[in-house]
């Protein structure tokens, strides 16, 4: 087992270099650079732009820039953001934490809701309950997150106009005057603000996830060994939860690797629409401005987490699926 883990870690090294180089190259292939925006400013001279370009190292060949960046990376330095004039990690970290306020609860909620819903749909296939859930799931899948967020904002405003009560905040993460609150009130305030974004993010995920769970469960339930288990006279509860469910969740365990980078990659456009100070708006700005090291640095963190996550899910697989052995 140890040998297997060591081997896997060795494999990760070329993957890491390949992936980072590709990311770096693709960002650089986009036309222009961080300073192109300045070029249309009538007050800035071309000499100034050329000087800044050389200060930022943007005038050097791409491979040189990559090697320099890699050198810093190996010293655990993700680089410097052009726009913020600060280390990338310092800029990214507080925003990742903000995103986690949405992402962590919604991930938990996803598993807590989607798995039972999927199992229910499989056990009561074509029942009224299954049809209602399927219908809702298709709606959930069809509505893009950002649009759902806009609908919620509209509804909140309409309720406010009619009753004068702000059921949930229209947008943002904290209320005006937040800094003066005591710590309990601060936590409650953030929670109050997080409700709608969490619901928005989770609904569409639940929709997709529960459909897959239902399909998996149906497939497993039609297997021979389930018939055998039932024939042995096992209780239905044991058949379903011990034999069927354990096998049905294997594909999800294999995908757990994706959850780790998912934790830092933010809640998506909901953050932009609802003015949640997460990582997505920051990253969009960086992409737009071609803030090279910000984008590259963020991709690198995601990449490392994805690699670690994949390793973890492979190890978890041996635990849920006795058929898998790495010896």
């Amino acid at each position: 087992m140890t040998a297997y883990i060591l081997r896997r870690i060795l494999y990760l090294i070329p993957t890491f270099f390949g992936a980072t180089f590709l990311a770096f190259l693709i960002i650089q292939l986009a036309p222009g650079d961080y300073l192109t925006q300045l070029e249309l400013d009538p007050k800035v001279t071309p000499e100034t732009i050329a000087r800044l370009r050389s200060q930022f190292g943007l005038d050097r060949p791409i491979h040189e820039q990559y090697l320099l960046w890699m050198h810093n990376l190996l010293h655990l330095n993700l680089g410097y953001s052009f726009a913020y004039q600060a280390p990338v990690l310092d800029v990214i970290w507080p925003r990742v934490v903000n995103s986690m306020v949405i992402v962590v609860p919604s991930t938990l909620l996803l598993f807590l809701v989607a798995i039972p819903v999927g199992v229910y749909g499989a056990l009561r296939q074509y029942s009224v309950g299954d049809r209602v859930i399927s219908f809702l799931a298709y709606i959930g899948l069809a509505i893009p997150n950002f649009f759902l967020a806009l609908i919620f904002m509209y509804l909140i405003l309409q309720v406010y106009f009619r009753t004068g009560v702000m059921v949930f905040p229209v947008s943002g993460m904290t209320s005006s005057g937040f800094e003066q609150f005591d710590s309990w009130k601060k936590i409650l305030d953030i929670a109050w603000h997080a409700v709608i974004p969490i619901i928005v993010v989770t609904t569409s995920d639940i929709a997709g996830f529960s459909r897959v769970m239902r399909g998996q469960m149906l497939e497993v339930l039609s297997q021979d060994y389930i018939r055998t288990a039932r024939a042995k006279g096992l209780a239905e509860r044991v058949v379903v939860y011990k034999h069927a469910l354990r096998n049905a969740v294997i594909p999800f365990v294999a995908n757990i690797g994706g959850i780790l980078p998912g934790l830092i990659s933010g809640a998506g456009l909901v953050e932009v629409v609802m003015a949640w100070p997460g990582i997505t708006p920051l990253l969009l700005d960086s992409l737009q401005q071609q803030d090279l090291y910000m984008v590259a640095g963020f991709l690198t963190i995601g990449l490392v987490l994805l690699m670690v996550g994949n390793l973890l899910s492979d190890l978890l697989l041996t635990w849920v699926d006795p058929r898998i052995r790495y010896e």
Binding site: P31, T36, Q85, N98, F161, V170
Partner: protein, 583 residues
């Protein structure tokens, strides 16, 4: 007697301290009388993009934190009612006979928020750091005229002299920069140089370490979310209203970062933010509706003024690889015909929902003092366009209905603008349609902004585009012509980047530009500006189209806005220092 004398001495000493002559904010800058004003409270604002740094020397974005903290501070400032420069942190100034030196007497008794006095050293240090190439300050270029440096000299603690390499219409604009505390930045600069400066006042700096001379201090900042500013009491000691009350009236400014304008609108409609400048017809009508239905107690000034920016179509004069197109684009007759096909009213109606202003010259329509009303306008007129094109030899049409010349060459060009700018894309489509009506084939493509800029600013005899729709901002009140735009060697001389003037009228404009920039008399400068607009109208280096208008809105819990006459895209809707919370 002795005691009386001591008291008298005490009184004189006290008077010495308090002799700081305050700057009195004129009543005419606000609609509110000092008697109706209330102190305290918080104004709530929203901005689209996040803040990047607290450091005044490396900040680059518009509306950055240092500029918020500094507010209007500078030796001089403008009076919004007249546009004139008036003394502010300076008590007075004198101009040398050769007009190359301006000596400012600095107001005494002003203090930084940490209690240190504000003196000439602060300006000297700020200027030094801004002009250090290694720092990379965005203000660097503003301290040079034609590449020659402007120098500052300290005469004594309260006297400072600006020495200009040539007479400069923008001399006071240069002197209006905000000073920063030399006692904070100086020691670091001496010890560690530019690198030390760059590391200072990042977003992670504790708010209490940020020293300001302006109206505001940082209370707190939550990344990507909210900046809270609080009143700087030291500013109130020398800034008073006409009743002698210290300014600003407000205790706090809460500025939320709301990237999505729909969310901004929702917050404004819900009464959660106080200021808004809606840019689209849809947003304007939602605000109006909410006000009319009594759901929102707010004011909106629709069409308060045009915005301070230009929008135009530029033809490329440098197409050595295609002599036919090159001679076409260099012909003023052709460009005049193209101006006649731009349906500016349709642009305003369709793109800006009727809330826009047509443009005919490089001077933004909002700069009313500068706009020459007598300049000929080549307005939408397809017959005139067809006539001009016929004079160029395009009389016949081919099978597809497009004009061709005697050699059978079709009148056709490519037009592009930056993808994602929906309004410019709509303008381009309108131009394509109108051009087709007179038989000109225009092929429109929207391309990536950076690619577009690369094409536009490329130089040499053969450049890779036909025509581009783009806009510029940043023209000043002192001299509204761009130093990079008008001179033939300018980097933004985007129609002709061969590096030399090709048309005698370009040479004329180039010369007039320099004359105006060095003319100190405002009236004479305006005359030069008028003359330049006349030549521009003949030459039509670019074809101006139309732009949106400025529509400020505010929640009625705020008082102290500008009188209607000075609400504009240049002066804004209010002085925040004179703004107060009514209820």
């Amino acid at each position: 007697m002795r005691r009386a004398l001591a008291a008298l001495v005490g009184f004189i000493a006290l008077a010495g301290v308090a002799s700081a002559q305050p700057f009195v904010w004129p009543q005419k800058w606000t609609v509110a009388k000092p008697s109706e004003v209330k102190r305290g409270g918080t104004i709530r604002e929203a901005v689209i993009s996040d803040y990047r740094t607290f450091n005044p020397f490396i900040t680059a974005e518009a509306g950055n934190v240092p500029s918020l903290l500094a507010g209007p501070i500078g030796l001089v400032r403008r009076d919004p009612t007249t546009g004139d420069w008036i003394p502010y942190m300076a008590e007075s100034w004198s101009v040398s006979p050769n007009k190359l030196e301006i000596t400012f007497k600095i107001r005494r008794g002003m203090k930084w928020s940490d209690g240190q006095p504000i003196t000439a050293d602060d300006w000297i240090m700020t200027w030094r750091i801004h002009t250090d190439k290694a720092v990379g300050s965005n203000s660097y270029d503003s301290f040079f005229i034609d590449g020659k440096p402007i120098t500052l000299r300290k005469i004594d603690d309260y006297t400072i002299r600006f020495i200009y390499p040539k007479t400069d219409a923008e001399a006071f604009a240069v002197a209006s920069f905000a000073p920063w505390p030399a006692h904070i930045f100086g020691p670091v600069y001496q010890r560690e140089g530019a690198e030390g400066i760059k590391k200072m006042w990042t977003l992670n700096e504790k708010p209490e370490n940020i020293v300001s001379g302006g109206p505001w201090l940082i209370e707190s900042y939550r990344p990507g979310e909210r900046l809270v500013l609080k009143r700087n009491p030291a500013f109130g000691e020398w800034n008073k209203d006409e009743a002698g009350n210290p300014l600003p009236y407000l205790d706090r400014r809460e500025i939320r970062i709301v990237k999505d304008t729909n969310a901004q609108l929702a917050e404004f409609l819900a009464g959660n933010i106080d200021l808004m400048a809606p840019a689209t017809v849809d947003h304007i009508s939602q605000i109006r509706q909410a006000i009319q239905q009594g759901r929102l107690d707010a004011t909106i000034k629709v069409n308060a003024s045009p915005v301070a920016s230009s929008q135009f179509m530029v033809f490329n004069w440098n197409k050595a690889s295609d002599p036919f197109k090159q001679s076409l684009f260099r012909s003023d007759k052709f460009r005049r015909a193209m101006s006649h096909i731009v349906n500016r009213q349709a642009v305003i109606d369709i793109v800006y929902g009727g809330l826009g202003t047509p443009m005919y010259s490089s001077v933004y329509p909002v700069l009313t003092q500068w706009v020459n009303p007598k300049v000929p306008k080549y307005e939408y007129n397809l017959q005139q366009a067809a006539k001009l094109l016929a004079e160029l030899g395009f009389t016949k049409k081919d099978r597809d209905g497009y004009l061709v010349d005697s050699k059978g060459r079709r009148l056709e060009f490519n037009l592009s603008t930056n993808a994602g700018n929906v309004q410019r894309e709509q303008i381009a489509k309108l131009i394509v349609d109108e051009a087709k009506k007179v038989g000109v084939k225009v092929n429109f493509t929207a391309i990536d902004f950076n690619t577009l800029v690369g094409q536009l600013l490329s130089s040499g005899p053969d450049r890779p585009f036909d025509a581009i729709i783009i806009g510029l901002t940043g023209g000043g009140l002192d001299w509204p012509f761009g130093s990079n735009v008008v001179p033939c060697k300018g980097n933004l001389h985007m129609w002709n980047k061969s590096g030399q003037c090709l048309d005698p009228r370009e040479t004329q404009l180039d010369a007039l530009y320099s004359r105006g920039r060095t003319e100190l008399d405002f009236k004479k400068r305006v005359e030069i500006g008028y003359r330049m607009q006349e030549i521009e109208a003949q030459l039509l280096p670019v074809i101006y189209i139309a732009g949106p208008n400025y529509h400020p809105a505010w929640n009625n819990r705020l008082g102290g806005e500008h009188p209607d006459a000075i609400i504009s895209s240049i002066w804004g809707q209010r002085q925040l220092e004179l703004t107060f919370i009514k209820k």
